[in-house]
């Protein structure tokens, strides 16, 4: 792709809301001072969007939850959209996900609403969104007032800066990599922590179907279903990791996602594996899930195998992007 030597341009936002957020792989190393990681919820979709526009894996992009986004490109740029199958249009004309798209100055891109197609779609632009870095990351965490616009949500009239770019030819991703929404998911759970006293209940917990409640956001997802019987515990607060499945006194599990608080005092059933966290990030209230128990060494083997596959497809996309570069 051909970087123009022109100054910074960007997307002029015409419509957005609090859940349209600039995200990258997250802010790491600051949990000890109470700063959560943040970062994209569906890492696979986000990384593939970046690869389609020949970005580094950590480039900042836009996470658009549930649709409701419209913006005008103030300069030519190369973009790609991945993730939830929301209706995408450019100047009113429908576009497909998982392909590279060249925008020219003045093009209006719009992401509309869809029923049961997943929660989050990702919009990457070549070169990455050039918003300010905070503690080494561009990830938005509204609760901590960490966002490009002084902690405020994105709204109409703001400019999301990028470096103009141009690419020739087409590039798209094979269908098996496209996110497809399922109303039922198995979530891989590494059992741990206070599971000692939960041992007798693990079989029942993993045999149950849970439903995603409306209390689902970037911080965590509250599940509804079988209530885990809990002894009264007075636990000392301790560090909380992403994916942790907390059990508040009512016994209904809460899964921590990327904006989770850094400390917690509830007992934990264990923690979901990263792929399952991503699936839950795409889940909608009313969707169903079931815990599938997995041991830690197996989880690591699976995570490494998946990473190898994903890296390979990223590399393949980047090499093809390179072939079109002028």
């Amino acid at each position: 792709m051909n970087e123009q030597p022109t100054a910074m341009s960007g997307f002029l936002i015409q419509q957005a809301h609090a859940l349209v957020q600039v995200q990258d792989a997250g802010r790491h190393g600051y949990a000890k001072v109470g700063v959560t990681a943040g970062g994209w919820l569906d890492a696979t979709a986000a990384r593939l969007a970046n690869a389609l526009v020949d970005n580094s894996a950590n480039a900042a992009l836009l996470e658009i939850a549930l649709g409701g986004f419209r913006a005008q490109a103030q300069a030519e740029c190369v973009i790609a959209l991945t993730g939830a199958n929301l209706p995408i249009t450019i100047n009113g004309i429908a576009q497909s996900r998982y392909q590279r798209i060249q925008l020219i100055t003045g093009d209006v891109i719009s992401v509309g609403y869809a029923n049961r197609q997943g929660a989050r779609c990702y919009l990457a632009v070549h070169g990455g969104l050039q918003t300010a870095e905070i503690l080494g990351s561009r990830a938005t965490v509204l609760r901590e007032q960490l966002s490009p616009f002084a902690g405020a949500p994105l709204t109409a009239g703001q400019l999301l800066p990028f470096q103009p770019s141009r690419a020739y030819g087409s590039l798209s991703l094979p269908y098996p990599w496209h996110y497809r929404h399922r109303r039922f998911r198995r979530l891989a759970l590494v059992v741990g922590a206070q599971a000692e006293f939960l041992r007798s209940q693990l079989a029942s917990v993993s045999a149950q179907i849970y439903q995603v409640s409306p209390a689902a956001d970037r911080m965590g997802v509250r599940l509804q279903g079988y209530a885990v019987a809990m002894p009264h515990l007075n636990l000392i607060s301790e560090g909380l990791s992403v994916g942790a499945v907390q059990l508040p006194p009512d016994g209904q599990p809460i899964v921590m996602l990327r904006d989770h608080q850094t400390m917690g005092g509830y007992p934990k059933l264990g923690a979901l594996c990263r792929q399952s966290q991503a699936l839950l990030g795409q889940a909608l209230p009313g969707d169903f899930c079931q815990f599938a128990l997995i041991d830690a060494p197996t989880a690591i083997i699976k995570a490494r195998a998946y990473e190898a596959q994903l890296s390979a497809i990223e590399q393949q996309l980047r090499s093809q992007a390179g072939a079109w570069r002028v």
């Binding site: 949990a31 990681a37 503690l135 059992v191 741990g192 607060s237 041991d295 830690a296």
Partner: protein, 258 residues
């Protein structure tokens, strides 16, 4: 399947020490391990936590994503592409048992100025009254104790300090306030803390600390870390303003019945 997840699976096979002398490690998901360095919170436990953190930094730095210290534990989040639970556990075994320094404080003592006055502290008079102390006695009580940073969390830069003398320990408000001004010094149960930013909150506000407790543009981003000791120093209005303190605006509680 559960059997495979106990500590035995994490610890290397050659660890044949008696159980009590082994570090207590618990899997926290595919890329995290909790190391419980003490049974219950104490100044000694905090020293152990600090020492363990420093050792982990030294021996695992390239593999670590996060280290989250708390009153009795350290959450170790590692990069699963580089290492695994067993490898981290093996390194911890070599550091065990921790050689705690005798009779000395490991952390620093950080003095925090505090303006104790009703104009910044809507609960000061009520709490003094509740505990049958004069306001001066109440201030004396809060500022004479040396606190320890037990944990940092809830919000960026929010440090849980303990323990306040039993004579002034007070449960949190029944109804939290929608907005507590930055710098507010609060009491909740036996803990005290400085609000690093404007935020909702249910702690009894008894003063205000004019220092910036969390600054993204500074390294380190906050003046405290877990294990440090904190001494509040009472200051007057002039000193408070000179140090950058602001007389905040107070909003009533979220609901009218407190």
């Amino acid at each position: 399947m559960y059997q495979a997840l106990t500590m035995a699976a994490v610890l290397p096979k050659n660890a044949e020490q008696p159980k009590s002398s082994q570090p207590r490690l618990v899997v926290q998901g595919e890329q995290a391990l909790m190391w419980y360095v003490a049974e219950s919170p104490s100044p000694q436990a905090l020293i152990a936590v600090q020492l363990a953190c420093a050792l982990l930094q030294q021996h695992c730095v390239d593999d670590l994503v996060e280290l989250v210290p708390a009153a009795t534990s350290i959450l170790i989040v590692f990069d699963l592409l580089k290492t695994d639970h067993a490898s981290i556990a093996e390194r911890i075994l070599k550091l065990w048992p921790l050689q705690l320094p005798q009779g000395q404080q490991l952390g620093r003592v950080v003095a925090l100025p505090c303006y104790y006055d009703v104009e910044v502290a809507p609960d000061l008079a009520r709490l003094a009254n509740l505990h049958q102390l004069s306001i001066t006695e109440f201030i004396q009580c809060h500022s004479s104790q040396r606190y320890q940073v037990n944990a940092i969390g809830f919000a960026p830069g929010f440090a849980y300090l303990g323990d306040v003398p039993a004579a002034i320990a007070t449960p949190r408000l029944a109804t939290p306030r929608a907005r507590v001004p930055k710098g507010s010094v609060g009491i909740a149960g036996s803990q005290t803390a400085v609000y690093p930013a404007n935020s909702p909150g249910g702690w009894n506000v008894i003063g205000n600390c004019p220092l910036v407790m969390f600054d993204l543009n500074r390294q380190p981003v906050m003046p405290l870390s877990v294990g440090d000791a904190v001494q509040f120093v009472a200051i007057d209005r002039a000193e408070f303003l000179r140090l950058g303190g602001e007389i905040g605006e107070w909003q009533p509680c979220v609901s009218s019945h407190e």
